[in-house]
């Protein structure tokens, strides 16, 4: 899936390169607040590549990574660390105001959420001392997003970007506990784990053409 997503992004970049439209590169920092209450809020960073399709429309590919700590629940992920990297494609609507100095933006799109969960090392180590191993794996997921933002032109090729993005995704996870002596294993699946978030971002957008 990762390869497929990266291939898609490269295809868009190649397509954009052949297009006469302007290309913009943004770098963003921000804060992601997961909608799952057992996940802590976390600082995030990412980048965005925009291709103007029209005066009012653009297409963007972006990535926005954050790493959150999970408190752990019986019917959700255990205590640990969760890294989330949504690779997204968005259709962006723009409404240039004041001669283009201020441009409110609206975005909608889909993405592929790459998840990496690590069980709290202390839990794993404690269970190892009594002879049990634990694995917990969170699946990647397809998600959707809606966003609003504002581009503030600083000069012809540089803008200040602020936005807020609502991401919706659900994923599945699997856990396994194994007694290293008897090899007695017990496993389970976790369904419909909320991987959504509200992210606030601020960054700089460089216009290449």
């Amino acid at each position: 899936m990762k390869r497929a997503a990266l291939s898609a992004i490269l295809l868009v970049l190649v397509a954009a390169g052949s297009s006469p439209a302007a290309v913009h590169v943004s770098i963003l920092g921000g804060y992601a607040l997961p909608t799952e209450k057992n996940y802590a809020g976390a600082f995030a960073f990412g980048g965005r590549l925009s291709f103007d399709l029209h005066q009012y429309f653009a297409i963007e590919v972006s990535g926005f990574r954050y790493e959150t700590s999970v408190a752990g629940t019986e019917d959700g992920l255990s205590k640990g660390t969760l890294a989330v990297l949504p690779l997204e494609v968005s259709l962006v609507g723009r409404l240039p105001l004041s001669g283009g100095r201020f441009t409110p933006t609206f975005a909608v799109g889909a993405g592929y959420f790459i998840h990496q969960f690590s069980l709290d090392p202390q839990i794993g180590a404690d269970w190892e001392t009594v002879g049990f191993s634990i694995t917990e794996k969170l699946d990647n997921a397809i998600g959707f997003h809606l966003g609003v933002g504002l581009d503030i032109a600083l000069n012809r090729s540089l803008s200040l970007v602020v936005d807020a993005m609502f991401r919706f995704a659900e994923s599945k996870a699997a856990w396994t506990m194994t007694d290293q002596t008897s090899h007695e294993e017990i496993s389970g699946a976790l369904e419909k784990l909320d991987q959504g978030s509200i992210a606030l971002g601020i960054g700089l957008k460089f216009s290449l053409r």
Binding site: K79, D126, V130, M177, D179, T181, S182, E184, I186
Partner: protein
């Protein structure tokens, strides 16, 4: 003639003096050695047994004493035999005739309740076909004669297998202290099912959890029952599984235990710790009332950890053998006495059963037609003094059991039992247990010495080893079961420390079973494993001792959770 009279007087005086000397000197020593009340309450050794075939012989004897000597003497006998009496009534279990279905059983039990009340009885409880009741002594034979009654007997009672916990470290449970529960609700539900919990309140929040659930199924609802045994067991469970929620449940009789187990199941308790043993309460092959209770609980996914018993050197079994043809079993050569020693004022008990229980139908055995009696003697220094006998009739429907209990001696001494064939048409295998003796019995046979319900197939049966060096304790009972299955399943430490027993160590398989119950609760309370998986985990983790693999002394080996 006058001279002759004087001579007669002198002879008379000398004879009187000799009698006085005999009375004051040697015979006094012998009298001191005699068990209390032997002569006055013992039956005649060779008297024909004419008691009602549906009445336990001890109850027949009680009625006989009451009729011939009055209530005071009857109370003495009842006290000696540990019978429960209120005024002129005695506590018994009336077993009603087996019926083909539950509806008819209920009808019979209902009818019997009315008849018992008409006889002046006061009913305590009814469980399946058994009615536990107090009944006037003089109505015992009348009750036994009722056509709806199969048998009238004393209530079956367990004995604490007590013989405090270093076992926590030994078994590796101490390494679980830092464990964060994984996909488990913290704290398993563990029930300590025992006879009494005296002193438990003072240990709450320290040796026991701050709160516990208590329930007494005794007729008098007394959770303490003047017995600390259950409290000490609860301490060990709490030591092993500190986060576990504890249920302290007690009972006194078998029928009360049935109700207790039903209630425990309804509470969704996950582990039962049971450090009690029963004699003459089943065929030793996993059948019987007590084992039935174990199966009822385990079929709901509950783990039942039970003590193997402490009878490795208090058990004899063998085929009836009478080479001298006098009707008495010869334990060796022509020796018909199996001897054992007991301390002063220690009430001894002997239990005999043989392999003629018939078929177990889920609520009762079809019964025995091979009749044997059990005799108890005390060594006076010169001869065996007959003390008591148990002469239940076995002519087809009764249990193949005899039991004598309660007798004690003012001084430490040697006791003996003999087994007499009354009416037997085939060779049977006899099994004898003694209780409260202080040394190994003569001719003891350790294999097969587990007590009930250690023979239950689904029970986790626990023997006893030293927490210091893993050596098997001399008393730890051995398998196999009477149907050839290997028991025990595990061994666990005993001779450990508890607050309840203070400076005395807590010995016996009683102390071992709660270690296993606690270990099960420890894993259940911290992990998502099912009870059957926990059982397999413990089997594989056990430290193999004795013969390689599972064996009849150590089972899979010593409990190990690390």
């Amino acid at each position: 003639m006058r001279k002759t009279a004087n001579q007669n007087s002198i002879v008379g005086i000398v004879f009187f003096c000799l009698l006085l000397i005999l009375f004051l000197m040697p015979t006094r020593a012998v009298v001191e050695r005699q068990p209390q009340m032997f002569s006055s309450l013992s039956p005649a050794e060779n008297a024909l047994d004419q008691s009602h075939p549906k009445l336990q012989s001890a109850l027949a004897r009680l009625e006989e004493i009451y009729t011939s000597s009055g209530l005071t003497r009857a109370k003495e006998f009842a006290g000696l035999r540990k019978m429960d009496m209120v005024e002129d009534t005695v506590r018994v279990v009336a077993v009603t005739m087996p019926m083909p279905n539950q509806i008819q059983t209920r009808m019979v039990v209902s009818a019997m309740k009315q008849r018992i009340e008409a006889l002046g009885g006061k009913i305590e409880l009814a469980y399946r076909q058994n009615i536990q009741t107090y009944i006037p002594i003089q109505a015992l034979t009348t009750l036994a004669s009722d056509p709806l009654v199969k048998y009238v007997r004393l209530p079956l009672k367990p004995v604490p297998l007590e013989v405090v916990s270093e076992g926590v470290a030994k078994t590796g449970a101490s390494q679980w202290k830092s464990i964060v529960p994984y996909r488990a609700q913290t704290g398993a539900k563990i029930c300590i099912l025992d006879v009494g919990f005296k002193g438990y309140e003072s240990l709450l929040g320290s040796e026991l959890p701050a709160t516990v659930v208590t329930r007494s199924f005794r007729a008098d609802q007394d959770i303490f029952a003047d017995e600390v045994h259950g409290t000490a067991n609860a301490e060990i469970v709490h030591d092993m599984a500190p986060d576990a929620k504890l249920w302290l449940v007690n009972f006194e009789t078998a029928d009360e235990q049935m109700g207790a187990v039903d209630w425990i199941i309804s509470q969704k308790v996950q582990v039962i710790s049971y450090s009690l043993g029963w004699f003459n309460s089943g065929a030793g092959d996993g059948t019987g009332w007590i084992c039935e209770a174990v199966e009822a609980a385990t079929s709901q996914g509950t783990i039942w950890a039970t003590s193997a018993g402490n009878a490795a050197e208090d058990h004899w079994e063998g085929n009836f053998s009478d080479p001298d043809g006098d009707g008495w079993h010869n334990f060796s050569g022509t020796d018909r006495y199996l001897e054992f020693h007991a301390r002063a004022n220690m009430p001894v008990a002997v239990y005999l059963n043989w392999n003629d229980w018939g078929t177990w139908n889920g609520s009762d055995y079809s019964g025995s037609n091979q009749d044997f009696d059990l005799y108890l003697y005390f060594w006076t220094g010169t001869s065996w003094d007959f003390v008591d006998k148990s002469s239940n009739t076995q002519n087809g429907t009764q249990l193949p059991t005899e039991e004598i209990s309660g007798w004690s001696s003012k001084t430490a001494g040697t006791w003996a039992v003999s087994i007499r064939k009354i009416n037997a048409t085939r060779s049977v295998k006899l099994e004898l247990f003694t209780y409260n003796n202080d040394e190994a019995i003569e001719y003891f046979v350790s294999p097969g010495s587990i007590t009930i319900p250690a023979d239950a197939a689904s029970a986790l049966t626990v023997g006893s080893t030293s927490w210091v060096d893993d050596s098997l304790h001399y008393y730890s009972a051995w398998g196999p079961t009477h149907d050839g299955r290997i028991k025990p399943d595990f061994v666990a430490p005993s001779g450990v420390s508890t607050s309840t027993y203070g400076e005395r160590a807590f010995w016996g398989t009683s102390a071992s079973a709660p270690h296993v119950a606690g270990a099960c609760g420890l894993i259940k309370g911290n992990s998502p494993y099912s009870m059957s998986q926990i059982r397999k985990i413990l089997e594989k983790r056990a430290v193999d001792l004795g013969e390689a693999g599972k064996d009849n002394r150590y089972g899979y080996g010593r409990l190990n959770v690390k």
